[in-house]
């Protein structure tokens, strides 16, 4: 067990000393990789999840897990500079990258914000030890953008909560131990006021899980059906009927994490081969166009966007911290990420030419296949349309969209025609 002290962390080590200690420890304890050719870590497979639990356990035992999480919950309680310095040191080592989001950056961050003392002690430290993987159970088959309009229900029957409904687009739920499930607990009040968040053990009776196959063949996302799933009161995260507050924290953390701006993520680099940044010089070389100035120009433009996106992440992170930008500015990063991905995919496709669509000696069919999933970056974590509403309304202060469900008891709100 970790020490239980709520005293503020005394920092006795400089960032440079911490980094030096991390460098030595990583060299002794973590597997080396070639960062330009990282090992595959397909979120849709079982094996990578076993692997990252093992890697996370090593980090924890070495005293380098949860650098920005408080010490009383198993972390180190250090400022982000330490995390960044650690990240830089991990460049050539295999890290449990797929645990970052959603487990650490969204779920644990939200439990830290809203959980009971017992929940924080249990879940955050279990995750930091590599013993617990968490997932979000938010979106429903009935619709994604109007999250507060969920219709999965949790009814109090005697001393139990009984859950019925369905969730979808949960990342790697098959590999998770716990899920953060948003359900309606009161139908007689407006939509935001009748929701509750539950911490659900994924192996419970009453949960049926199905994989969703995406265009690129990936099966990382899941759909879950709940048939009289029973939960106790201590499964509630935050307060009953105050689940929207908890969900809002998740969305906040998600927007920051998706753009790469979370202090709770550990390690840099790609999750696996499909996530490696496009190497434009190699691509031009592969199609025999290394000296083609027209292609160099569009590649250069894509590189400019990539670098500006990285600079924007840093700018927004500091802007939110020092108050010059509101927390909703995470949506700026979210959109920039989508726009950047679109440009990268489009540029790679343009350079690869027909080699991206008919497999040839160049071996570039993967460029075309990757292009087919281009829009995932504009949809996952909330569509860019919703993100633009958020920027317009919560950053620029423009009038809110007209919503006929505002202030209306949820049971009277019009829903999908079935």
């Amino acid at each position: 067990m970790t020490e239980t002290t709520s005293a503020p962390t005394e920092i006795t080590e400089s960032v440079a000393e911490f980094a030096a200690r991390a460098r030595a420890w990583l060299a002794e304890n973590m597997p080396r990789i070639d960062p330009t050719n990282p090992p595959a870590a397909d979120r849709g497979e079982e094996e990578p999840w076993q692997r990252v639990r093992e890697l996370q356990k090593r980090l924890y035992e070495g005293g380098f897990a949860g650098i920005c999480f408080p010490r009383e919950y198993g972390g180190l309680g250090l400022p982000i500079d330490y995390q960044k310095a650690f990240d830089a040191e991990t460049r050539n080592y295999e890290m449990p990258m797929i645990l970052n989001t959603p487990t650490f950056t969204i779920c644990c961050a939200t439990i830290l914000d809203t959980g009971s003392e017992e929940q924080k002690r249990q879940h955050i430290s279990a995750a930091l030890r590599g013993d617990e993987v968490l997932v979000q159970l938010l979106s429903e088959p009935s619709g994604g953008s109007d999250l507060a309009g969920v219709i999965t229900r949790a009814d109090k029957v005697a001393d139990k909560w009984v859950v019925n409904g369905a969730k979808t687009w949960s990342t790697s739920a098959f590999a998770a131990d716990y899920g953060l499930l948003l359900a309606r607990t009161n139908w007689d009040v407006p939509k935001h006021e009748g929701l509750s968040m539950f911490l659900v053990p994924m192996n419970s009776a009453g949960i049926t899980l199905r994989r969703i196959k995406q265009v690129n063949g990936s099966v990382e996302f899941c759909e879950e059906f709940f048939d009289n799933l029973e939960l106790d009161d201590d499964a509630v995260l935050g307060e009953v009927n105050n689940g929207w507050h908890v969900a809002s924290r998740q969305l906040y953390h998600e927007r920051r994490a998706v753009g790469g701006g979370s202090e709770f993520a550990s390690g840099i680099g790609s999750e696996g081969k499909t996530d490696v940044p496009v190497d434009y010089a190699a691509l031009l070389e592969a199609v025999g166009q290394a000296d083609n100035e027209r292609l160099q120009n569009i590649a250069g433009r894509a590189l400019v966007y990539r670098m500006v996106h990285a600079q924007l992440i840093n700018h927004v992170y500091h802007g939110v911290n020092d108050g010059s930008l509101p927390p909703a500015a995470g949506s700026i990063i979210r959109i920039s990420h989508a726009v950047n991905t679109q440009l990268e995919m489009d540029t790679a496709l343009a350079i690869a030419g027909s080699a991206a669509v008919v497999d040839g000696a160049e071996g570039l069919l993967r460029v075309g296949e990757r292009y087919l999933s281009r829009q995932s970056a504009s949809l996952g974590g909330g569509s860019t349309e919703i993100a633009r509403n958020i920027i317009a309304e919560r950053i620029l202060g423009l009038p809110r969209e007209y919503a006929p469900d505002r202030g209306v008891p949820f049971k009277e709100v019009k829903r999908n025609r079935s």
């Binding site: 590189l303 400019v304 670098m307 802007g319 020092d322 633009r388 509403n389 423009l398």
Partner: protein, 390 residues
């Protein structure tokens, strides 16, 4: 300017007050109507606020309140963008960046500042605002190619003889001194040439901006002393690189100021105007455009800050960071102002509305010191160089 020191904040608020009072949009229009680019006396007062000395070390008469002159200079440029202010901040700073580094190098070599060779007098006159200088780097009919001059500086018994033509020389007509990039004895050199020297002819060129003026300068057998040379031949490419970096980050910072101001008053306009009984700003089609404008503004700010920081630190990545900023800001800025014109409706395309003042400056800067397309190629090349062979 989040996280700025109290000294920086005071410096910025003083600069802002001066600009609001002495360089308003009304003033810019008056200058234009009178056919004046800027008033030397006005610049002298700006120089008294320290604007011309920010890149100059204290022992040469300059200094910066925050200790980071490049960042302070970017703060001034951003504020100037808010009213598309006139004045020779860019040409004077660009020349000083070269002179100061050349003097610094000589000092390191000789451990003494020789008045004749260090250009200390010129630096002093520029810092005080008594004199204006400009960088003669472009040549007629040629794109941004600072290291490919055709102007010649032939060796004579006592110095050099300059022949050839430069153009797009900002504030050339107002300048007492030009820093001329020339080919000399198989190397690239820079020479300080007084504009009243025999053989120098300055002819104004029309520019798209209301007050920023540019000139074509012909050098016809212009004789200068040995001491007119700036720095050594070996040092010159590095000096030119630094001067170009300063010129480009100043442009980017000023454009950030322009975009900040234009977006601010366009949002206000869309919130005040009503059509079909509701504010323009309540339409989702327009809200999404404002959201994009905000994203691009913050991206321009982020990349400009990153470039300014790298130039200030003289980091090895400064060239790349500057080209990234110059490409991105150049690609987006004038398109964003055009969007804001569209969002204003018909009033946006009138002479009466101030939008075109901003559009002019943003369009000017897109195309000077390399287009986004030029910088994309540079970014591609630099990235390829930096990448470890794998």
């Amino acid at each position: 300017m989040s996280g700025a020191s109290p000294e920086r904040l005071l410096f910025a608020s003083t600069a802002q007050a001066f600009l609001e009072k002495e360089a308003s949009l009304t003033r810019v229009r008056e200058l234009h109507d009178a056919g004046v680019s800027f008033e030397p006396e006005w610049w002298r007062r700006a120089a008294e606020l320290g604007w011309a000395g920010l890149l100059v070390p204290e022992d040469l008469g300059g200094g910066s309140v925050s200790g980071n002159g490049v960042e302070d200079l970017a703060v001034v440029a951003e504020l100037m963008g808010k009213t598309v202010a006139p004045g020779p901040l860019h040409p004077v700073s660009t020349v000083l960046a070269g002179l100061v580094d050349a003097a610094d190098e000589r000092w390191r070599e000789e451990q003494t500042i020789d008045e004749n060779h260090s250009h200390a007098t010129t630096i002093e006159a520029l810092v005080s605002g008594d004199a204006i200088a400009s960088w003669a780097v472009y040549e007629p009919g040629k794109p941004w190619a600072p290291l490919e001059p055709t102007v010649r500086g032939a060796r004579t018994a006592t110095g050099f003889r300059i022949d050839g033509v430069k153009d797009r020389v900002e504030a050339g007509s107002q300048s007492a001194i030009l820093m001329v990039v020339a080919e000399s004895e198989g190397a690239i050199r820079q020479f300080l040439v007084p504009t009243d020297a025999p053989g120098v002819r300055v002819e104004p060129q029309r520019s798209i901006d209301l007050v920023k003026r540019y000139d074509r300068v012909t050098f016809d057998g212009v004789k200068v002393d040995e001491s007119a040379a700036v720095g050594t031949a070996a040092q010159t490419p590095t000096l030119i690189e630094r001067q170009a970096q300063i010129a480009m980050v100043l442009q980017c910072a000023e454009v950030v100021g322009i975009l900040d101001r234009v977006l601010e008053f366009t949002i206000q306009w869309a919130s005040d105007r009503h059509s079909f009984g509701r504010p323009l700003a309540s339409y989702q089609a327009l809200k999404h455009r404002f959201a994009d404008l905000k994203i691009w503004l913050e991206a321009c700010r982020a990349t400009t800050r990153a470039a300014v920081a790298e130039v200030a630190e003289r980091s090895p990545g400064a060239n790349l960071a500057v080209s990234v900023a110059k490409s991105y800001v150049g690609e987006y800025a004038q398109g964003m102002v055009q969007d804001c014109i569209q969002l204003h409706g018909g009033i946006g395309v009138t002479w009466e509305h101030d939008l075109h003042l901003y559009l002019r400056r943003a369009t000017l800067y897109r195309s000077m010191f390399g287009t986004p397309e030029d910088h994309n190629l540079r970014v591609y090349g630099l990235t390829k160089e930096l990448e470890p062979a794998s």
